[in-house]
Symmetry: C2
Subunit: 196 residues, 2 copies
């Protein structure tokens, strides 16, 4: 078994366990059991429990970024680009519920426990939105007075909160795609230049 396989096996096990129990209530032995390795083995691949979380975060966000950038590659209409981003973001939940829950958790916890951890991958992910907005302004599609830096946070926050609800609710009212479209619609109308 290649080294990277075991690394990945542990990461995947950690996603499951963190999602099920939360970071602090997850035991290393739970992760070890889920990954079918010994407790000690985990320490050959990660420095400590927190390192598992960080590393997982970086890796998985990295993959998401790659995928969404690929999807956006051949689209030039900034309105459509926002929709692609939103739909992709929400559909992650359908495919990887556990992962989304862990990422949401991580996002809040990094506040407290590693102020020094700059979270660059996350920033890269949301900067995709501000880039879209910026380009939309240059091409005259979007209003000049909106701040891309605010839109990116607001858009992400809206999607994130909606997905939080979704993962909590037993039987959701709306489909994820409807939700993504609704939110996109609001933001599109919110920042587009009105052809009065």
């Amino acid at each position: 078994m290649r080294v990277s396989d075991k690394h990945q096996k542990i990461t995947q096990a950690a996603v499951k366990v963190f999602a099920r129990k939360g970071f602090f209530n997850a035991r290393i032995s739970d992760i070890a059991k889920e990954a079918k390795v010994a407790d000690g083995t985990i320490y050959l691949y990660f420095n400590n429990k927190y390192d598992i979380l960080i590393s997982l975060f970086e890796d998985e966000i990295g993959k998401i970024i790659l995928k969404v950038k690929l999807l956006l590659e051949n689209e030039t209409d900034p309105l459509k680009m926002l929709e692609i981003y939103a739909i992709h973001h929400m559909s992650l939940l359908q495919d990887q519920k556990d992962l989304v829950e862990v990422l949401q958790m991580e996002l809040r916890q990094s506040n407290k426990f590693i102020k020094e951890y700059r979270n660059t991958k996350f920033i890269e992910y949301i900067d995709i939105v501000s880039d879209i907005v910026h380009k939309g302004q240059q091409s005259g599609h979007f209003r000049q007075e909106v701040m891309p830096g605010v839109v990116k946070r607001a858009f992400f926050g809206a999607l994130d909160e909606m997905s939080r609800l979704w993962s909590l609710s037993a039987k959701p009212k709306y489909t994820l795609e409807d939700t993504a479209r609704q939110i996109t619609d609001i933001f599109q109308h919110g920042i587009v230049v009105r052809n009065s």
Copy 2:
């Protein structure tokens, strides 16, 4: 010293300690020290550590709801109402940074640890937004096709994410009020009926 005083002393101490260290890293003895009571005393007022968090959440959200409902009382324009809500929400941060951080944390953690805790106070808080939207639709200000249930989550999520950034960043780019106005502006344009 009245009973309620000690209860409140402990709550306030807990807010400080939770904000500083996070829920799981906060020790009961930290809270006791901060509140200037013995460790055991805390258990005369709360069932356990988690109960402190829940109880704090309910109490403090309760106060916030009262205040924002009061502010909204004499306003009828739904566009303005959204702005009042947003500005009040963001200005909380200025006045009670610690509290906001704890509430944000709690919101994420309740996912995992008390699925049964229905979080009714929080729902009451965000339902204020869906009420505004609903009324705005009835009065013909807002587009019929937007879903109040989506707007409330999106609007809250946007504000919440923005405030998360704010509390993390050493020297923020924007003032809180500007931010609140920007986000409100996007949502106002996003859902208002266009007078074409």
